[in-house]
Symmetry: none
Subunit: 212 residues, 2 copies
Amino acid sequence: MQQDHNISIIIIDDHPLVLQGFRYLLKDLKGLTVTGCFTSAQDSLDFLSGHDADIVLLDINLPDLSGIDLCSEIKKISPFSRIIAISNNNERSMITRMLQNGASGYILKNASTEELMHCITDALSGKLVLSRDVQQVLAQPDLRELKITPRLTRREKEILKLIAAGNTTTEMADQLFISPLTVETHRRNLMQKFEVSNAPALIRIASEHQLL
Amino acid sequence: MQQDHNISIIIIDDHPLVLQGFRYLLKDLKGLTVTGCFTSAQDSLDFLSGHDADIVLLDINLPDLSGIDLCSEIKKISPFSRIIAISNNNERSMITRMLQNGASGYILKNASTEELMHCITDALSGKLVLSRDVQQVLAQPDLRELKITPRLTRREKEILKLIAAGNTTTEMADQLFISPLTVETHRRNLMQKFEVSNAPALIRIASEHQLL
DNA sequence: ATTTTTCTACTGGTTTTCCGGTATTTCATG
DNA sequence: CATGAAATACCGGAAAACCAGTAGAAAAAT
Protein backbone atom coordinates (compact mmCIF):
# COMPACT_ATOMS: atom_id res chain seq x y z
CA MET A 1 0.00 0.00 0.00
CA GLN A 2 2.72 2.38 0.95
CA GLN A 3 4.66 1.46 -2.18
CA ASP A 4 2.11 2.96 -4.53
CA HIS A 5 2.76 6.14 -6.37
CA ASN A 6 0.07 8.06 -4.61
CA ILE A 7 0.83 8.42 -0.97
CA SER A 8 -1.62 10.36 1.17
CA ILE A 9 -0.58 12.56 4.04
CA ILE A 10 -2.63 14.37 6.61
CA ILE A 11 -1.34 17.05 8.91
CA ILE A 12 -2.64 17.88 12.37
CA ASP A 13 -1.40 21.05 14.01
CA ASP A 14 -3.21 23.83 15.74
CA HIS A 15 -0.79 26.39 14.35
CA PRO A 16 -1.98 27.43 10.90
CA LEU A 17 1.51 28.64 10.12
CA VAL A 18 3.06 25.27 10.63
CA LEU A 19 0.29 23.75 8.60
CA GLN A 20 1.09 26.13 5.76
CA GLY A 21 4.75 25.40 6.09
CA PHE A 22 4.22 21.69 5.68
CA ARG A 23 1.92 22.12 2.77
CA TYR A 24 4.45 24.27 1.06
CA LEU A 25 7.24 21.81 1.68
CA LEU A 26 5.29 18.80 0.53
CA LYS A 27 3.51 20.16 -2.48
CA ASP A 28 6.43 19.60 -4.84
CA LEU A 29 7.06 16.00 -3.86
CA LYS A 30 5.92 13.65 -6.59
CA GLY A 31 3.58 10.82 -5.81
CA LEU A 32 2.51 12.43 -2.57
CA THR A 33 -0.71 14.24 -1.77
CA VAL A 34 -1.75 16.18 1.28
CA THR A 35 -5.31 14.98 1.70
CA GLY A 36 -6.17 16.82 4.87
CA CYS A 37 -5.08 19.55 7.27
CA PHE A 38 -6.64 19.82 10.72
CA THR A 39 -6.28 22.13 13.64
CA SER A 40 -7.96 19.94 16.21
CA ALA A 41 -7.86 16.32 17.28
CA GLN A 42 -11.57 15.81 16.78
CA ASP A 43 -11.56 17.04 13.20
CA SER A 44 -8.79 14.66 12.30
CA LEU A 45 -10.52 11.70 13.91
CA ASP A 46 -13.72 12.51 12.07
CA PHE A 47 -11.81 12.55 8.81
CA LEU A 48 -9.88 9.36 9.48
CA SER A 49 -13.00 7.39 10.30
CA GLY A 50 -14.04 7.92 6.68
CA HIS A 51 -10.69 7.99 4.86
CA ASP A 52 -7.28 6.43 5.11
CA ALA A 53 -3.93 8.10 5.26
CA ASP A 54 -0.48 6.66 4.79
CA ILE A 55 1.28 9.25 6.87
CA VAL A 56 -0.03 11.37 9.71
CA LEU A 57 2.04 14.33 10.80
CA LEU A 58 0.88 15.04 14.30
CA ASP A 59 1.62 18.00 16.51
CA ILE A 60 1.29 16.66 20.01
CA ASN A 61 0.36 19.94 21.68
CA LEU A 62 -3.24 20.16 20.67
CA PRO A 63 -5.85 22.10 22.58
CA ASP A 64 -8.52 19.43 22.80
CA LEU A 65 -6.67 16.15 23.33
CA SER A 66 -3.18 15.11 24.37
CA GLY A 67 -0.95 13.86 21.60
CA ILE A 68 -0.50 10.57 23.38
CA ASP A 69 -4.21 9.89 23.56
CA LEU A 70 -4.80 11.04 20.02
CA CYS A 71 -2.03 8.78 18.80
CA SER A 72 -3.67 5.65 20.14
CA GLU A 73 -7.07 6.86 18.93
CA ILE A 74 -5.73 7.21 15.41
CA LYS A 75 -4.14 3.79 15.58
CA LYS A 76 -7.48 2.32 16.55
CA ILE A 77 -9.33 3.94 13.68
CA SER A 78 -6.64 3.67 11.09
CA PRO A 79 -4.05 1.09 12.19
CA PHE A 80 -1.93 1.21 9.03
CA SER A 81 -1.26 4.92 9.17
CA ARG A 82 2.28 5.81 10.08
CA ILE A 83 2.25 8.57 12.63
CA ILE A 84 5.10 11.02 12.91
CA ALA A 85 4.97 13.17 16.00
CA ILE A 86 6.00 16.79 15.57
CA SER A 87 6.80 18.56 18.79
CA ASN A 88 8.69 21.16 20.69
CA ASN A 89 8.82 18.85 23.65
CA ASN A 90 12.07 16.93 23.87
CA GLU A 91 11.39 15.19 27.15
CA ARG A 92 12.32 11.58 27.16
CA SER A 93 9.06 10.51 28.75
CA MET A 94 7.00 12.20 26.08
CA ILE A 95 9.02 10.68 23.28
CA THR A 96 8.88 7.16 24.63
CA ARG A 97 5.22 7.39 25.41
CA MET A 98 4.42 8.50 21.90
CA LEU A 99 6.42 5.63 20.48
CA GLN A 100 4.73 3.21 22.87
CA ASN A 101 1.38 4.47 21.69
CA GLY A 102 2.06 3.71 18.08
CA ALA A 103 4.01 6.61 16.64
CA SER A 104 6.51 5.71 13.93
CA GLY A 105 8.63 8.75 14.40
CA TYR A 106 9.30 11.80 16.50
CA ILE A 107 10.88 15.00 15.28
CA LEU A 108 11.33 18.36 16.90
CA LYS A 109 9.90 21.44 15.31
CA ASN A 110 13.25 23.12 15.16
CA ALA A 111 14.60 20.43 12.88
CA SER A 112 15.90 21.75 9.57
CA THR A 113 13.70 21.47 6.53
CA GLU A 114 16.14 19.00 4.98
CA GLU A 115 15.91 16.84 8.05
CA LEU A 116 12.14 16.97 7.97
CA MET A 117 12.00 15.94 4.36
CA HIS A 118 14.41 13.17 5.01
CA CYS A 119 12.34 11.87 7.87
CA ILE A 120 9.18 11.85 5.84
CA THR A 121 10.73 9.93 2.97
CA ASP A 122 12.33 7.52 5.42
CA ALA A 123 9.05 6.92 7.16
CA LEU A 124 7.50 6.05 3.81
CA SER A 125 10.01 3.25 3.44
CA GLY A 126 8.98 1.89 6.81
CA LYS A 127 11.74 3.13 9.06
CA LEU A 128 11.39 4.46 12.55
CA VAL A 129 12.43 8.07 12.17
CA LEU A 130 13.82 10.29 14.88
CA SER A 131 15.31 13.71 14.40
CA ARG A 132 18.90 14.22 15.51
CA ASP A 133 18.00 15.98 18.75
CA VAL A 134 15.53 13.27 19.67
CA GLN A 135 18.11 10.57 19.06
CA GLN A 136 20.46 12.36 21.41
CA VAL A 137 17.85 12.52 24.12
CA LEU A 138 17.14 8.83 23.79
CA ALA A 139 20.81 7.91 23.62
CA GLN A 140 21.68 8.83 27.15
CA PRO A 141 19.41 7.16 29.69
CA ASP A 142 17.65 9.51 32.04
CA LEU A 143 17.78 8.37 35.62
CA ARG A 144 14.64 10.10 36.76
CA GLU A 145 12.34 8.84 34.12
CA LEU A 146 12.91 5.15 34.62
CA LYS A 147 9.75 5.16 36.66
CA ILE A 148 7.02 4.73 34.11
CA THR A 149 3.70 6.47 34.53
CA PRO A 150 1.06 3.96 35.58
CA ARG A 151 -1.96 3.71 33.35
CA LEU A 152 -4.94 5.49 34.88
CA THR A 153 -8.60 5.02 34.11
CA ARG A 154 -10.84 7.92 33.17
CA ARG A 155 -12.39 8.02 36.59
CA GLU A 156 -9.05 7.90 38.31
CA LYS A 157 -7.77 10.89 36.35
CA GLU A 158 -10.92 12.71 37.29
CA ILE A 159 -10.56 11.93 40.98
CA LEU A 160 -6.87 12.79 40.85
CA LYS A 161 -7.60 16.28 39.64
CA LEU A 162 -10.34 16.77 42.19
CA ILE A 163 -8.01 15.73 44.99
CA ALA A 164 -5.36 18.13 43.69
CA ALA A 165 -7.98 20.87 43.70
CA GLY A 166 -8.47 20.38 47.42
CA ASN A 167 -11.75 18.48 47.50
CA THR A 168 -12.58 16.10 50.30
CA THR A 169 -14.03 12.67 49.70
CA THR A 170 -17.60 13.75 50.33
CA GLU A 171 -17.23 16.81 48.13
CA MET A 172 -16.03 14.67 45.26
CA ALA A 173 -18.82 12.17 45.82
CA ASP A 174 -21.38 14.97 45.62
CA GLN A 175 -19.90 16.35 42.43
CA LEU A 176 -19.72 12.98 40.70
CA PHE A 177 -22.99 11.63 42.10
CA ILE A 178 -21.36 8.51 43.47
CA SER A 179 -20.86 7.14 46.94
CA PRO A 180 -18.05 8.53 49.09
CA LEU A 181 -16.96 4.95 49.55
CA THR A 182 -16.38 4.64 45.84
CA VAL A 183 -14.34 7.81 45.81
CA GLU A 184 -12.20 6.38 48.58
CA THR A 185 -11.64 3.25 46.58
CA HIS A 186 -10.46 5.27 43.61
CA ARG A 187 -8.11 7.24 45.77
CA ARG A 188 -6.74 4.08 47.26
CA ASN A 189 -6.15 2.61 43.81
CA LEU A 190 -4.41 5.77 42.70
CA MET A 191 -2.06 5.65 45.67
CA GLN A 192 -1.37 2.00 45.01
CA LYS A 193 -0.59 2.58 41.35
CA PHE A 194 1.86 5.33 42.15
CA GLU A 195 3.23 3.42 45.13
CA VAL A 196 2.71 6.21 47.62
CA SER A 197 1.01 6.13 50.97
CA ASN A 198 -0.88 9.38 51.14
CA ALA A 199 -2.54 12.02 49.05
CA PRO A 200 0.12 14.74 49.24
CA ALA A 201 2.72 12.36 47.83
CA LEU A 202 0.22 11.33 45.20
CA ILE A 203 -0.27 14.89 44.05
CA ARG A 204 3.44 15.49 44.04
CA ILE A 205 4.22 12.55 41.81
CA ALA A 206 1.23 13.20 39.58
CA SER A 207 2.40 16.73 39.00
CA GLU A 208 5.86 15.44 38.13
CA HIS A 209 4.24 13.25 35.54
CA GLN A 210 2.21 16.23 34.38
CA LEU A 211 -1.12 14.62 34.96
CA LEU A 212 -2.75 17.64 36.51
CA MET B 1 9.20 55.06 3.72
CA GLN B 2 6.52 52.59 4.72
CA GLN B 3 4.15 54.03 2.17
CA ASP B 4 6.27 52.98 -0.80
CA HIS B 5 5.28 50.15 -3.02
CA ASN B 6 8.18 48.02 -1.99
CA ILE B 7 7.93 47.02 1.61
CA SER B 8 10.62 44.79 2.99
CA ILE B 9 10.03 42.13 5.59
CA ILE B 10 12.42 39.95 7.48
CA ILE B 11 11.45 36.90 9.48
CA ILE B 12 13.26 35.53 12.51
CA ASP B 13 12.26 32.12 13.79
CA ASP B 14 14.27 29.10 14.73
CA HIS B 15 11.61 26.78 13.37
CA PRO B 16 12.23 26.34 9.64
CA LEU B 17 8.65 25.21 9.24
CA VAL B 18 7.25 28.44 10.52
CA LEU B 19 9.69 30.31 8.36
CA GLN B 20 8.44 28.42 5.32
CA GLY B 21 4.86 29.03 6.35
CA PHE B 22 5.39 32.77 6.48
CA ARG B 23 7.22 32.85 3.19
CA TYR B 24 4.42 30.98 1.59
CA LEU B 25 1.80 33.26 3.01
CA LEU B 26 3.58 36.45 2.10
CA LYS B 27 4.88 35.64 -1.35
CA ASP B 28 1.64 36.55 -3.11
CA LEU B 29 1.21 39.93 -1.46
CA LYS B 30 1.94 42.72 -3.91
CA GLY B 31 4.43 45.40 -3.06
CA LEU B 32 5.95 43.29 -0.35
CA THR B 33 9.23 41.42 -0.37
CA VAL B 34 10.72 39.03 2.12
CA THR B 35 14.30 40.18 2.17
CA GLY B 36 15.59 37.85 4.84
CA CYS B 37 14.88 34.76 6.90
CA PHE B 38 16.94 33.94 9.95
CA THR B 39 16.99 31.16 12.49
CA SER B 40 19.08 32.92 15.09
CA ALA B 41 19.18 36.32 16.73
CA GLN B 42 22.79 36.97 15.77
CA ASP B 43 22.21 36.34 12.08
CA SER B 44 19.37 38.80 12.00
CA LEU B 45 21.36 41.49 13.79
CA ASP B 46 24.23 41.05 11.36
CA PHE B 47 21.84 41.51 8.48
CA LEU B 48 20.08 44.53 9.94
CA SER B 49 23.32 46.39 10.57
CA GLY B 50 23.79 46.47 6.80
CA HIS B 51 20.20 46.67 5.55
CA ASP B 52 16.88 48.09 6.58
CA ALA B 53 13.57 46.36 6.99
CA ASP B 54 10.10 47.83 7.29
CA ILE B 55 8.65 44.90 9.19
CA VAL B 56 10.35 42.36 11.41
CA LEU B 57 8.43 39.23 12.29
CA LEU B 58 10.11 37.97 15.40
CA ASP B 59 9.69 34.68 17.19
CA ILE B 60 10.56 35.43 20.78
CA ASN B 61 11.68 31.93 21.68
CA LEU B 62 15.10 31.94 20.13
CA PRO B 63 17.94 29.75 21.28
CA ASP B 64 20.65 32.38 21.53
CA LEU B 65 18.92 35.49 22.83
CA SER B 66 15.66 36.30 24.55
CA GLY B 67 13.02 37.96 22.42
CA ILE B 68 12.90 40.89 24.77
CA ASP B 69 16.60 41.61 24.46
CA LEU B 70 16.61 41.07 20.73
CA CYS B 71 13.73 43.47 20.36
CA SER B 72 15.60 46.35 21.90
CA GLU B 73 18.77 45.43 19.99
CA ILE B 74 16.89 45.63 16.74
CA LYS B 75 15.40 48.96 17.70
CA LYS B 76 18.88 50.32 18.37
CA ILE B 77 20.26 49.21 15.02
CA SER B 78 17.18 49.87 12.95
CA PRO B 79 14.83 52.18 14.84
CA PHE B 80 12.25 52.54 12.10
CA SER B 81 11.55 48.86 11.74
CA ARG B 82 8.19 47.78 13.02
CA ILE B 83 8.57 44.62 15.05
CA ILE B 84 5.77 42.11 15.38
CA ALA B 85 6.34 39.46 18.01
CA ILE B 86 5.22 35.95 17.14
CA SER B 87 4.92 33.66 20.10
CA ASN B 88 3.33 30.72 21.80
CA ASN B 89 3.69 32.48 25.07
CA ASN B 90 0.51 34.24 26.13
CA GLU B 91 1.69 35.39 29.52
CA ARG B 92 0.79 38.91 30.34
CA SER B 93 4.25 39.79 31.57
CA MET B 94 5.87 38.65 28.35
CA ILE B 95 3.46 40.58 26.19
CA THR B 96 3.82 43.83 28.07
CA ARG B 97 7.58 43.57 28.21
CA MET B 98 7.80 43.07 24.48
CA LEU B 99 5.63 46.10 23.86
CA GLN B 100 7.69 48.14 26.29
CA ASN B 101 10.82 47.16 24.43
CA GLY B 102 9.61 48.51 21.14
CA ALA B 103 7.44 45.84 19.57
CA SER B 104 4.58 47.14 17.46
CA GLY B 105 2.51 44.01 17.76
CA TYR B 106 2.15 40.66 19.41
CA ILE B 107 0.38 37.68 17.92
CA LEU B 108 0.14 34.07 18.99
CA LYS B 109 1.28 31.33 16.71
CA ASN B 110 -2.07 29.65 16.84
CA ALA B 111 -3.75 32.66 15.26
CA SER B 112 -5.54 31.90 12.04
CA THR B 113 -3.82 32.70 8.78
CA GLU B 114 -6.43 35.36 8.04
CA GLU B 115 -5.73 36.97 11.35
CA LEU B 116 -2.01 36.93 10.69
CA MET B 117 -2.40 38.55 7.31
CA HIS B 118 -4.66 41.14 8.77
CA CYS B 119 -2.16 41.97 11.46
CA ILE B 120 0.66 42.37 8.99
CA THR B 121 -1.28 44.72 6.76
CA ASP B 122 -2.48 46.67 9.77
CA ALA B 123 1.06 47.02 11.05
CA LEU B 124 2.08 48.45 7.69
CA SER B 125 -0.41 51.24 8.17
CA GLY B 126 1.11 52.06 11.52
CA LYS B 127 -1.28 50.42 13.94
CA LEU B 128 -0.45 48.52 17.08
CA VAL B 129 -1.57 45.00 16.29
CA LEU B 130 -2.56 42.36 18.78
CA SER B 131 -4.14 39.04 17.96
CA ARG B 132 -7.50 38.27 19.47
CA ASP B 133 -6.15 35.97 22.16
CA VAL B 134 -3.56 38.52 23.17
CA GLN B 135 -6.17 41.23 23.45
CA GLN B 136 -8.16 38.99 25.73
CA VAL B 137 -5.17 38.35 27.94
CA LEU B 138 -4.50 42.06 28.26
CA ALA B 139 -8.15 42.91 28.77
CA GLN B 140 -8.73 40.98 31.96
CA PRO B 141 -6.39 41.39 34.89
CA ASP B 142 -4.19 38.36 35.31
CA LEU B 143 -5.41 35.87 37.87
CA ARG B 144 -2.12 34.09 38.35
CA GLU B 145 -0.12 37.18 38.98
CA LEU B 146 -2.51 38.44 41.61
CA LYS B 147 -1.74 35.57 43.90
CA ILE B 148 1.85 36.19 44.64
CA THR B 149 3.87 33.40 46.12
CA PRO B 150 3.70 33.79 49.87
CA ARG B 151 6.98 34.20 51.66
CA LEU B 152 7.93 30.99 53.40
CA THR B 153 10.34 30.55 56.25
CA ARG B 154 13.23 28.09 56.07
CA ARG B 155 11.45 25.60 58.25
CA GLU B 156 8.25 25.86 56.28
CA LYS B 157 10.01 25.10 53.02
CA GLU B 158 11.58 22.13 54.71
CA ILE B 159 8.27 20.82 56.00
CA LEU B 160 6.64 21.48 52.64
CA LYS B 161 9.10 19.21 50.88
CA LEU B 162 8.75 16.52 53.50
CA ILE B 163 4.99 16.57 53.13
CA ALA B 164 5.35 16.32 49.36
CA ALA B 165 7.63 13.34 49.86
CA GLY B 166 4.85 11.53 51.66
CA ASN B 167 5.92 11.85 55.28
CA THR B 168 3.41 11.87 58.10
CA THR B 169 3.58 14.33 60.95
CA THR B 170 5.36 11.96 63.29
CA GLU B 171 7.86 10.92 60.64
CA MET B 172 8.76 14.53 60.02
CA ALA B 173 9.03 15.19 63.72
CA ASP B 174 11.46 12.31 64.07
CA GLN B 175 13.61 13.50 61.20
CA LEU B 176 13.79 17.05 62.41
CA PHE B 177 14.03 16.22 66.12
CA ILE B 178 11.08 18.40 67.00
CA SER B 179 7.66 17.73 68.44
CA PRO B 180 4.92 16.46 66.14
CA LEU B 181 2.83 19.30 67.43
CA THR B 182 5.33 21.76 66.03
CA VAL B 183 5.23 20.06 62.67
CA GLU B 184 1.47 20.37 62.67
CA THR B 185 1.72 24.05 63.38
CA HIS B 186 4.04 24.54 60.43
CA ARG B 187 1.73 22.62 58.16
CA ARG B 188 -1.18 24.68 59.33
CA ASN B 189 0.69 27.88 58.63
CA LEU B 190 1.64 26.67 55.17
CA MET B 191 -1.97 25.92 54.34
CA GLN B 192 -3.01 29.30 55.64
CA LYS B 193 -0.40 31.13 53.60
CA PHE B 194 -1.46 29.40 50.41
CA GLU B 195 -5.14 29.67 51.31
CA VAL B 196 -5.91 26.00 50.89
CA SER B 197 -7.63 23.65 53.28
CA ASN B 198 -5.70 20.43 52.96
CA ALA B 199 -2.30 19.01 52.16
CA PRO B 200 -2.99 17.71 48.65
CA ALA B 201 -4.08 21.17 47.52
CA LEU B 202 -1.03 22.60 49.24
CA ILE B 203 1.29 20.33 47.29
CA ARG B 204 -0.52 21.12 44.09
CA ILE B 205 -0.17 24.86 44.44
CA ALA B 206 3.38 24.58 45.72
CA SER B 207 4.34 22.60 42.66
CA GLU B 208 2.73 25.22 40.45
CA HIS B 209 4.90 27.79 42.14
CA GLN B 210 7.84 25.45 41.68
CA LEU B 211 8.70 25.27 45.32
CA LEU B 212 9.37 21.55 45.36
C1' DA C 1 -20.17 -14.83 23.71
C1' DT C 2 -16.86 -14.73 27.13
C1' DT C 3 -13.15 -12.76 29.55
C1' DT C 4 -11.15 -8.57 31.48
C1' DT C 5 -11.33 -4.05 33.11
C1' DT C 6 -13.54 -0.45 35.23
C1' DC C 7 -16.74 1.47 38.16
C1' DT C 8 -19.35 0.90 41.73
C1' DA C 9 -20.22 -0.04 46.86
C1' DC C 10 -19.70 -2.01 51.32
C1' DT C 11 -17.82 -3.32 56.53
C1' DG C 12 -15.23 -2.01 60.31
C1' DG C 13 -11.62 -0.20 62.33
C1' DT C 14 -7.09 2.75 62.88
C1' DT C 15 -4.38 6.64 61.97
C1' DT C 16 -3.76 11.14 60.58
C1' DT C 17 -5.08 15.50 59.51
C1' DC C 18 -7.49 19.65 60.37
C1' DC C 19 -9.27 23.46 63.33
C1' DG C 20 -9.34 26.89 66.99
C1' DG C 21 -6.95 28.62 70.13
C1' DT C 22 -2.69 29.86 73.24
C1' DA C 23 2.10 30.46 74.71
C1' DT C 24 7.24 30.34 75.42
C1' DT C 25 11.90 30.82 73.60
C1' DT C 26 15.17 32.46 70.32
C1' DC C 27 17.27 35.53 67.44
C1' DA C 28 18.09 39.31 64.50
C1' DT C 29 17.41 44.23 63.61
C1' DG C 30 16.13 48.63 64.31
C1' DC D 1 16.71 47.08 74.63
C1' DA D 2 12.54 46.61 72.59
C1' DT D 3 10.01 44.77 68.80
C1' DG D 4 8.83 41.44 65.67
C1' DA D 5 9.38 37.35 63.16
C1' DA D 6 10.36 32.49 63.50
C1' DA D 7 10.47 28.28 65.69
C1' DT D 8 8.98 25.75 69.22
C1' DA D 9 5.15 23.42 71.83
C1' DC D 10 0.59 22.40 73.81
C1' DC D 11 -4.88 21.03 74.26
C1' DG D 12 -9.14 18.97 72.81
C1' DG D 13 -12.20 17.67 69.65
C1' DA D 14 -14.07 17.00 64.89
C1' DA D 15 -13.29 15.56 60.35
C1' DA D 16 -11.05 13.22 57.05
C1' DA D 17 -7.96 9.93 55.34
C1' DC D 18 -6.04 5.38 55.32
C1' DC D 19 -6.07 0.16 55.52
C1' DA D 20 -7.55 -4.53 54.21
C1' DG D 21 -10.55 -6.96 52.35
C1' DT D 22 -14.83 -8.30 49.43
C1' DA D 23 -17.97 -8.13 45.66
C1' DG D 24 -21.67 -7.10 42.14
C1' DA D 25 -22.82 -4.51 37.89
C1' DA D 26 -21.50 -2.27 33.75
C1' DA D 27 -18.59 -1.56 30.00
C1' DA D 28 -14.91 -2.82 26.99
C1' DA D 29 -12.07 -5.83 24.74
C1' DT D 30 -11.13 -10.35 22.65
